[in-house]
Amino acid sequence: MALLDIQHLAQFFGGLRAVSDFNIQLERGEIVGLIGPNGAGKTTVFNVITGVYMPTKGTIVFDGQNIVGRKTYQITQAGIARTFQNIRLFSKSSVIDNVKIAYHFHMSYGNADAFLHTRKYWQGEQLVDDYAIDLLRLFHLDGHADDLSGSLPYGAQRRLEIARALATKPKLLILDEPAAGMNPAEADELMEMIHWLRDKFDLTILLIEHQMRVVMGVCERIKVMDFGETICEGVPEYIRNDPRVIEAYLGKGA
């Protein structure tokens, strides 16, 4: 059974058809790319999956459960974590706190333990501190654990956002333009990291990306959107040579 199964998804904003009849099945362990020109509806698809928008039509089945109509935090708790196109860190919190916040719903102590700092609180804090520092170490951020996250360099902020998403212990990770603003060397590193993430954390990954080199290098399957509709789907070699894709990106007669 597919981990994520989206059928006939449509999202209208008034008269604007942001997404129409979108279908996708993600098998466990796959890395799938979603590409298309600006305004094609890629981020809208992400926002619908994560419950930011309520879809006009269609079903989204994740891990056997229909998640349409659930709140964003419930969807995250069900196992879908995301990063944002424009980085959204908790900039006034420390680097390690960013990761700990994402672990919050796994924490076992309640409000009363928080007020009274009971034994349960100290055990929980020790556990989350170990967990967070181990995770940061994997992303080479442990040296900055107590710095404000807003003060990190750009590339490190991108890595922290991924680390934070992983702290929720997701089954599906969705990345919105992870290579945005990266130079070729950083993008190469990112490609390596995405493969490593999938194997290390047993993930399924869905990503939006504009840098074709990254998409072609990392994705096993690609879906191309334009004006809210899927125009093509297949392996990278097939997508690269498809006339509809070339037309969508470069225009007719190119």
Partner: protein
């Protein structure tokens, strides 16, 4: 000293006990008269009010501007219990203090209930709705008190037994601030800051932001209610206009001048700006000129308040040594 550095909690308790002893001695020697002691007690109450307001405005990033309304709920509730319903039994201090404590707790709970009624619908929304709702709610509470003759109406309520003394304020302020500080330095406190920094990202990391916001708002109202009870049993006379919008505004000023995202800042703001205007009594009519002037100057030179994001070391939770980090 090394012992004290290792046991910061004990050091803090000793420090506060010393402050108390110094004030008490200065009082007994006659350097601090009853007026100064009253001022110190007011500062203690204002510290709790400001720190609890900071939980909502500074750390959760919401904008509540009617904090005095919850104080009024707590004040009137506790006074109704100690003065109107149980006035006979409070003459004996052995009965009086338990009744007083039960009364201020009841005031806190009722204020928390009022906080839930105000917060639950408005905190579901993102944006500035909370400001409008809290402003109207606090004025509504004041107006209801004004027209309710059993609450004394516009004449106010007098004859309140003076249960609040220096010891009560010390215990009350320290316990309240410690509880709120504990909450802030917990997983739930980190979630509050996450809501402040980015509500969308907080939701995306699995935090039920609405529930977190409502809970903080409710316990903030609870502490405001208790402060109201302590306040009423200090002044011995309460009037609806004690809890007007100007009162709420004072707490906002204490908070933002001191530093909204810092418990220490809220404490400094409340303490300094409770005492300062009283020391400048001779300039009474200029008080409202000096206040905004200070605000403007702080906003220009210290945008994040006097303390910014910093905390006094006794506020912070001692960090344990992490495992050795390999380079």
């Amino acid at each position: 000293m090394t012992f004290l550095r290792a046991h910061r909690t004990i050091a803090t308790v000793i420090a506060f006990a010393l402050v108390y002893v110094v004030i008490k001695v200065l009082n007994l020697v006659g350097i601090f008269n009853a007026y100064y002691i009253q001022l110190i007690m007011l500062a203690g109450i204002n510290i709790v009010m400001t720190v609890s307001l900071g939980m909502v405005n500074g750390f959760t990033g919401q904008f509540s501007i009617g904090h005095a309304g919850f104080m009024a709920v707590g004040a009137y509730t506790s006074v109704m219990i100690t003065t109107v319903w149980l006035h006979a039994s409070v003459a004996n201090p052995w009965v009086g203090y338990p009744v007083f404590i039960a009364a201020i707790l009841a005031g806190g709970l009722l204020a928390a209930a009022a906080g839930y009624i105000v917060g639950a619908p408005s905190l579901r929304l993102k944006g500035d709705y909370l400001a409008i709702v809290t402003l109207s709610a606090s004025e509504l509470i004041r107006t209801v008190i004004r027209v309710s003759s059993f609450l004394g109406g516009p004449r106010g309520l007098g004859g309140i037994p003076k249960f609040t003394n220096l010891e009560v304020v010390f215990v009350f302020a320290i316990v309240s601030v410690v509880l709120m500080r504990n909450y802030l330095f917990s997983s739930h406190g980190r979630s509050m800051k996450a809501v402040r920094d980015s509500e969308i990202a907080a939701e995306a990391t699995g935090i039920n932001t609405t529930r977190q916001k409502v809970f903080v708002f409710v316990f903030s109202a609870f502490f405001a209610g208790i402060s109201g009870g302590v306040f009423a049993h200090l002044l011995q006379f309460i009037h609806p206009d004690n809890f007007s919008f100007m009162k709420s505004l004072e707490y906002l000023i204490y908070l933002y001048v001191g530093g909204s995202a810092s418990i220490s800042g809220a404490m400094v703001g409340a303490a300094v700006f409770t005492v300062l205007p009283e020391l400048l009594r001779s300039l009474q009519s200029w008080r409202m000129v000096i206040y905004p002037l200070i605000l403007i100057l702080v906003m220009i030179f210290r945008t994040e308040g006097i303390m910014g994001l910093k905390e006094f070391s006794f506020i912070l939770i001692p960090q344990r040594q992490r495992k050795e980090v390999s380079a």
